[in-house]
């Protein structure tokens, strides 16, 4: 008869302990000892975390957009995490830098979807990047990947065939440009020229202006382009000359802050004294910073001459409107957490803005994102995301407009605000006639 020694028992016990962790995944569908189904988390969700993926510009001439959007969102996520998270889970933002270039954004998205296995994609920046990513969402639609609240007002993520894979919070470029054209026409500035980025973003805004002018039986008076990634130091003299030749009464810029600031600088220097409008994507505070700094360093005197003709459309209220609960909360949390950009992604120094329209947009995006994640309950599933978004009806974000979503409404907010520079900061424009007529 074979006897079981203490040493053999010990050896068997150790072997069992070693094997157990490996057996766990195999037993995921099996009943536990208590007879209950083993909990199986959705990708990107653990007992302690929900991981969201973000690819944005953290380097290059448009880095201010990605960084500010991240800072605003992080301020709110940090606050939620400090309060105990969502059903005990912290919201983690996994970030990659795409430099506002399409190819890296596609690579980053693949990494986020397949390697990092994030729960959803959040806060992407830019039209040329997002338009390339959308087909990937369709490709992996069986995994229920959704893109939430990209920082772009372009149409491709708002209409078929990719509209079903993204949820937008901000107003569209079509709405922004239509509003600008309506107001310019109203104050009798009907010859409108367009300065735009030579890519999908620029074309989206250009198409919006064209469409709005068509409504009044008019055409774009003149147009000039620049390459994505153009720096503030570049000359825009040629572009100004082209537009000047068309004798515009107003110019609408569809670009990012570095190139648009360079255009405004050269336009003023070359005597193009007409209102110059920028869309929300421009990054108003960074544009103002460049113009102000340039005016001071070049001893051009007061920067007012470069900013008095500016009118920037925004898709969030002014961060000066502290009477709105969300704005007050934004200001408090930005002050309390003062979020910094991911250090590993920073290739060059960046001086963050205390407040900005872009970080406010990131903050409001994060606020609604948290609400949607809460509505998923204790066991978040990707497959339930769309339904959870559709339950958002007349939701009070704490601003002057309520957000609603539905199968035929994949954009939460509709309002556009117009701002001008007054005493070195952007304030709401209340009277177009007085300012530009």
């Amino acid at each position: 008869m074979r006897t079981i020694t203490r040493r053999a028992l010990l050896r068997s016990g150790l072997a069992w302990c070693a094997a157990t962790p490996w057996l766990k995944p195999l037993r995921a569908d099996a009943d536990t000892d208590a007879g209950q189904p083993a909990p199986q988390m959705a990708p990107g969700v653990t007992d302690t975390e929900i991981v969201l993926g973000m690819s944005a510009a953290f380097s290059g001439p448009s880095r201010g957009l990605g960084i500010e959007l991240y800072r605003g969102a992080t301020a709110y996520f940090d606050h939620v995490n400090e309060q105990g998270g969502i059903a005990g889970r912290n919201v983690i933002l996994k970030t990659y830098d795409d430099g506002y270039q399409p190819a890296p954004s596609v690579r980053n998205t693949l990494k986020l979807m397949l390697q990092d296995q994030v729960f959803l994609l959040f806060g992407y920046v830019g039209t040329p990047t997002v338009t390339r990513v959308l087909p990937m969402l369709k490709k992996f639609q069986d995994r229920n990947f959704f893109l939430f609240f990209p920082f772009t007002g372009a149409q491709p993520q708002r209409e078929p065939p990719y509209g079903d894979f993204a949820f937008n919070l901000r107003s569209s470029y079509r709405q922004e440009t239509a509003g600008l054209v309506d107001n310019f026409v109203r104050i009798n500035r009907k010859r409108i020229a367009v300065f735009y980025q030579a890519d999908a973003y620029g074309r989206s805004g250009w198409a919006g202006v064209r469409r709005a002018l068509k409504h009044y039986g008019r055409q774009i008076a003149g147009e000039a382009t620049y390459r994505r990634g153009t720096k503030f130091t570049a000359s825009m003299r040629r572009q100004v000359e082209i537009l000047k030749a068309s004798q515009p009464e107003a110019v609408i810029c569809i670009g990012s802050y570095a190139a648009c600031a360079a255009f405004v600088r050269d336009a003023v220097n070359l005597g193009l004294q007409v209102p110059i409008a920028n869309l929300s994507f421009v990054g108003s505070e960074n544009l103002l910073k460049l113009l102000t700094h340039w005016a001071l360093t070049e001893e051009r005197g007061n920067s007012e001459q470069y900013t008095r003709f500016l009118v920037n459309s925004q898709v969030v209220p002014s961060y000066e409107e502290a009477s709105m609960p969300a704005i007050q909360e934004y200001r408090d949390l930005m002050r309390r957490y003062n979020p910094q950009p991911p250090i590993e992604l920073l290739k060059e120094p960046y001086l963050p803005s205390e407040h900005s329209f872009v970080s406010l947009e990131g903050f409001i995006d994060a606020k609604l994102m948290v609400e949607i994640l809460r509505r998923l309950g204790d066991r978040p599933e990707r497959s339930q995301l769309q339904q959870a978004v559709f339950t958002v009806q007349d939701f009070d974000l704490g601003i002057d407009e309520r957000a609603s979503f539905g199968p035929d409404r994949r954009q939460g907010l509709q309002q556009v605000y117009y701002t001008v520079v007054d005493e070195g900061r952007f304030v709401l424009l209340d009277n177009w006639e007085d300012r530009f007529a």
Partner: protein, 245 residues
């Protein structure tokens, strides 16, 4: 002197031959590369224009123009494609890749023409432009500009590589020719020196190692020695006959 001339003639022959080879192959190379590359680029550009035209129908009719711009931006990343523009049925530019704007020559030209044309655009370079109609032309046209400077650059590179190869062969050929001529000329020089030494008479310091050679030079050296000894013996005989007489 004769050897020097032989040497010069050999070098001249080598240079002439390589010059002829270089010239003929370069001309052939330019012709072949230019013809083939031009045909290939034009064919590829036509294919790209047709692909864009086919893809554009749905976008033009149903979607935002930013999708169309995104499409052409991807194609313009292809080497040699320098610009793309799309006009609608009314000839309006609905998407293009020009910076800082559409060139005057294109703006004022026939935008619905899809025939291949050569263009020289100020500040941009020389191009071959191909076109393709969208939906048989009722929805607009696609135009693709191919950079001919790039073809010229490729020809230059191809010829440069060929000239480089021929130059190496030329240098090796010249060095080989010099070595062979020297190889042939040295024994002749030794033979000449040996003959001169023999002519100076006995105890002349002639290099007798030549006599050991079994080639033509050795045979000639032995022949010179034979004649030299004969002449010397005949001379001694004459001297002794004179003394006797």
């Amino acid at each position: 002197m004769k050897i020097q001339k032989l040497f010069q003639k050999t070098l001249f022959g080598v240079f002439s031959l390589f010059g002829l080879i270089s010239l003929s192959t370069s001309v052939l190379c330019i012709y072949t590369v230019d013809t083939h590359l031009s045909e290939e680029y034009e064919s590829n550009s036509k294919d790209i224009a047709k692909t864009i035209a086919d893809s554009s129908v749905d976008i033009l009719l149903n979607r935002d123009l930013s999708a169309l711009q995104s499409l052409i931006d991807q194609f313009v990343e292809i080497q040699s494609i320098r610009y793309i523009y799309i006009t609608d049925e009314e000839g309006e530019f609905v998407a293009h890749t020009f910076v800082p704007g559409v060139p005057e020559e294109i703006r004022t030209g026939d935008r619905n023409n899809t025939v291949t044309v050569e263009r020289s655009l100020p500040g941009m370079g020389d191009f071959v432009e191909v076109g393709s109609p969208i939906l048989a032309g009722v929805a607009g046209t696609v135009h693709v500009g191919m950079d001919t400077d790039l073809i010229a650059l490729k020809i230059q590179r191809a010829i440069g590589r060929q000239v480089y190869l021929i130059s190496i062969i030329l240098v090796v050929g010249v060095l080989a020719a010099i070595w062979f001529v020297n190889l042939a000329a040295k024994p002749l020089g030794d033979l000449l020196a040996y003959a001169v030494a023999l002519a100076r008479g006995p105890d002349n310091g002639a290099d007798d190692t030549l006599l050991a050679r079994d080639d033509e030079v050795g045979q000639l050296a032995r022949l010179f020695l034979y004649f030299s000894e004969g002449v010397q013996a005949e001379g001694e005989q004459r001297v002794s006959s004179g003394n006797d007489g």
